[in-house]
Amino acid sequence: MLRLVPRIEADPKLVIAAPIVAALAALLLAAVPIALAGAPVIEAYRVMAEGALGSRFALTEVVARATPLMLTGLAVAVAFRARLYNIGAEGQLYMGALAAVWVGSGRFDGPAPVMIAAVLVAGALAGALMMLGPTLLKVKLGADEVVVTLLLNFVVALFVQMMIEGPMKDPMSLGWPQTEAILDSATLPKLIDKTRVHAGLIVALLAALGVHLMMKHTVVGFEIRAVGAGPQAARFAGMNVTAAMVTVGALSGALAGLAGVGEVAGLKGYLTADLSPGYGYAGIVVAMLAGLSPLGVVIAALWVAAVFVGADSMSRSINVSSYVANLIVALALLSVLLSGVLVRFRLVRARAPQRRTER
């Protein structure tokens, strides 16, 4: 019989090793469904690695896909740190994109720096506002923010659908449900020519650095950490728990909103209902893999993006569905949760209970 014995204090080396082991374990476990699909396993992995890392184009594609994941991952990480379980990054992303289009598609025009700043601020504000309701409902009434934010994702999906088929539909789109295009002046410039890497990457990297510095070195970050780890003690010590939670909620929503701005103003140019292939949800995995560390989010986002890009490549060349990527990411989340248990507990083989005499 195996038993879990708590460790007095988690070994810092294990804390770092755990998500890496979990990510590798998820990749290895995916061999089972790949084999069941009748594909040559070794070949599949080779194609996947090559597709993700084997060329300059592949690498830039990974970076482009990682950009929104960094922002949604940060959104989740910062909220989870304060025990505000924001599952609504997907909806906040879409609202951010919608606001960016509303501001940046010809309502007014100006020089590029002004227009880019305008779409970024609009997207961040829209995302932040999306979190205001769920946060206040949680703090004031105790409503479960998991349920509220999750359900809001569907509300947003339908709202976006309505907007792109109605008031914001592009009259020149030949009936396609899409919005008008973002003006050139409001478009995030490409960082590398002829690739999909855009200036949203800089926004994401700066956001990661900023969140890291804020959590570690500022008064606001101190308060957020205290309120998250011990709300009762934080209140007793004189902190305003409501204000701290609203700050975190707004920050989290704003980060997810920025992910939407990047996708619409950096890549696609206009908003459709299929802007995000689940970046908001994948952000949860990214944040968990990163152990909620803002800098770790950058690495975790690159890994998750590589899995998706590699799996696309694999599905093209050896006919394994690219859904295998979702599978690997899901397995990674499960593995990281399990490894979290192993970081905090030791597995001990227990002696079988001795029963010399029966009663």
């Binding site: 708590p6 204090e9 003690a233 004189g238």
Partner: protein, 523 residues
């Protein structure tokens, strides 16, 4: 504690009903029990004496099957009297073997009647009707024999703590226990209720019940038990009959060294610091309500607030901590009337607060010792500049506090939850007493601490008193109350009595006041 100290010498010929042999239990590197032996005979009361953390509760949890011992075994007398090993890790087996346990925190369903609570779990699930005649008869017989009396049809929610404890004991007796374990049973009782409990236990022992009684209070052990086993750091360091015992020696055995009692220097109180004038706090429950409480506390005096827990002390502490605002009446600090109370404002006004629950309210367990010491003042110019924390200042401040308060820790960066209760409390003291507060609220400041840490907390509070702080001490520990307080007031059902000079309060009188009798009547 009482005049009813008449525990009989153990009968050496009574049959052994329980034997713990060489019990060892480890939690990681921590040894909770090490090769503990204990025998219990029919009809005797054995006290298990030890400080918090000495391993008393762990030992009893092994007996009751909540934990499995790493080494050693538990032997229980079967129906024929022969000792057989008890299956480890099975509370069900312990129950079947006739072992009953009354926990410190009761396990009663408040919305049910006494009878329902006693019968809970004893009736078959798949029977459409129930007959209570036989259980009532059995309980009547049990009550007559033990002297426990209680209305079987009362709802538990309406009963006092003492009455609830009687239900717990009746529950065990109804299940025909032969061995009854009580974990710190007097923690929630008034002195009179404790005496009643001891009388009941003796009556039950006379009828053949074997009782193990866990305590860290010497006088109770001597009053109630015939024999005492002393645990220290997981090991049994002594086992002696209580007849003719030397109390000082027993205390030394329990603590492992001699502890000098703290001395309260005479001091004339100065100017008035705190004045509560008919303050009420509205609330549905007694524990969260205050009814027209008036109190003044002066510079250089400690006012002790006694009372059975749950009589409104939580509300009083909440008021002085800034967590609860008065719904009527006024609170004045240094002559200034305050209305908008928040914890932050109270701290800024120079109130040092030691909360009752140090794990939930006193410290953020996952944060470091230095962050916890700065927790109340991280927004002051001392610890931040333009919104950025001054890491060096926070670290230096913590290092000074660690040295001054002798906080044993791996360093200021270590998570505070790694600390023992005593060291965590020292860190909270360092924070609360920082800046020489005018008023100090100490709510159960030594609960769960070992004797060394208790002495340190007392020393700090007395030093604060000597330098001129006004101190409100809320405590259930009567020894602490008499050791520290200059004046004593009692909380009962959300009301506070007029404080009396500590010298004029006898234990008997205090007990009656805690039970709700008029202080004038009992003077």
């Amino acid at each position: 504690m009482s005049a009813v100290s008449s525990a009989r010498a153990p009968d050496p010929d009574a049959p052994v009903v329980l034997e713990l042999a060489g019990i060892t239990k480890r939690f990681g590197p921590l040894i909770a029990n090490e090769a503990v032996d204990l025998t219990l005979r029919r009809g005797e009361i054995v006290a298990l004496l030890g400080e918090n953390g000495a391993g008393k509760t762990t030992l009893m949890n092994i007996l009751f099957g909540h934990y499995v011992a790493d080494e050693g075994e538990v032997l229980v007398a079967g129906p024929d009297g022969a000792l057989v090993p008890l299956e480890p890790g099975s509370p069900r087996a312990a129950l079947d073997a006739g072992i009953g346990m009354v926990h410190q925190h009761f396990t009663l369903a408040e919305n049910l009647t006494v009878l329902d609570n006693v019968l809970l779990g004893t009736e078959p699930l798949w029977r459409p009707w129930r007959s209570t005649a036989a259980p009532r008869a059995k309980l009547a017989a049990l009550m007559a024999r033990s002297g426990l009396s209680i209305d079987l049809d009362a709802t538990v929610a309406d009963l006092t703590v003492g009455e609830r404890q009687r239900i717990e004991i009746l529950k065990a007796l109804y299940r025909d226990v032969r061995i009854l374990v009580l974990d710190e049973p007097t923690a929630v009782l008034t002195p009179q209720e404790s005496d009643g409990l001891f009388a009941t236990l003796r009556a039950l022992a006379d009828h053949g019940l074997a009782v193990i009684f866990i305590s860290h209070k010497l006088h109770e052990v001597i009053a109630a038990a015939g024999r005492v086993a002393v645990l220290r750091s997981g090991r049994k360091v002594a086992e002696v009959p209580t007849a003719g015992i030397d109390r000082g020696r027993l205390a030394e055995l329990m603590v492992g060294r001699t502890v000098a009692p703290s001395r309260r220097e005479p001091r004339t109180p100065g100017a008035e610091v705190l004045r509560l004038d008919r303050v009420s706090i509205a609330g549905a429950e007694v524990r969260r309500r205050l009814d027209e409480v008036s109190l003044t506390v002066r510079e250089g005096e400690i006012v002790g607030i006694a009372g059975v827990s749950g009589n409104g002390q939580t509300a009083l502490a909440g008021l002085l901590s800034g967590l609860l605002a008065p719904s009527a009446g006024t609170l004045a600090l240094d002559g200034r009337t305050l209305d908008a109370l928040t914890p932050g404002a109270v701290v800024a006004l120079g109130v040092g607060r030691i909360p009752e629950d140090r794990h939930a309210e006193g410290a953020v367990g996952a944060m470091s010792i230095e962050e916890n010491i700065a927790l109340e003042r991280f927004r002051s110019a001392r610890f931040q500049r333009a919104g950025f924390l001054r890491a060096k200042a926070i670290r230096d401040h913590a290092e000074t506090a660690i040295a001054a308060y002798d906080i044993r820790c791996p360093g200021p960066h270590a998570a505070i939850r790694q600390l023992s209760g005593g060291n965590m409390q020292k860190a909270i003291l360092a924070r609360a007493l920082d800046g020489e507060p005018r008023l100090v609220l100490a709510n159960q400041p030594t609960r769960g601490l070992d004797v060394g840490a208790v002495a340190e907390v007392h020393r700090r509070l007395l030093a604060a008193r000597l330098r001129g702080a006004a101190i409100v001490l809320i405590t259930e520990d009567l020894d602490e109350l008499f050791a520290l307080a200059d004046r004593i007031a009692v909380m009962f059902r959300s009301r506070l009595t007029e404080p009396c000079a500590a010298e004029d309060v006898t234990l008997k009188r205090l007990g009656l006041m805690m039970a709700g009798h008029d202080p004038a009547e009992v003077a």
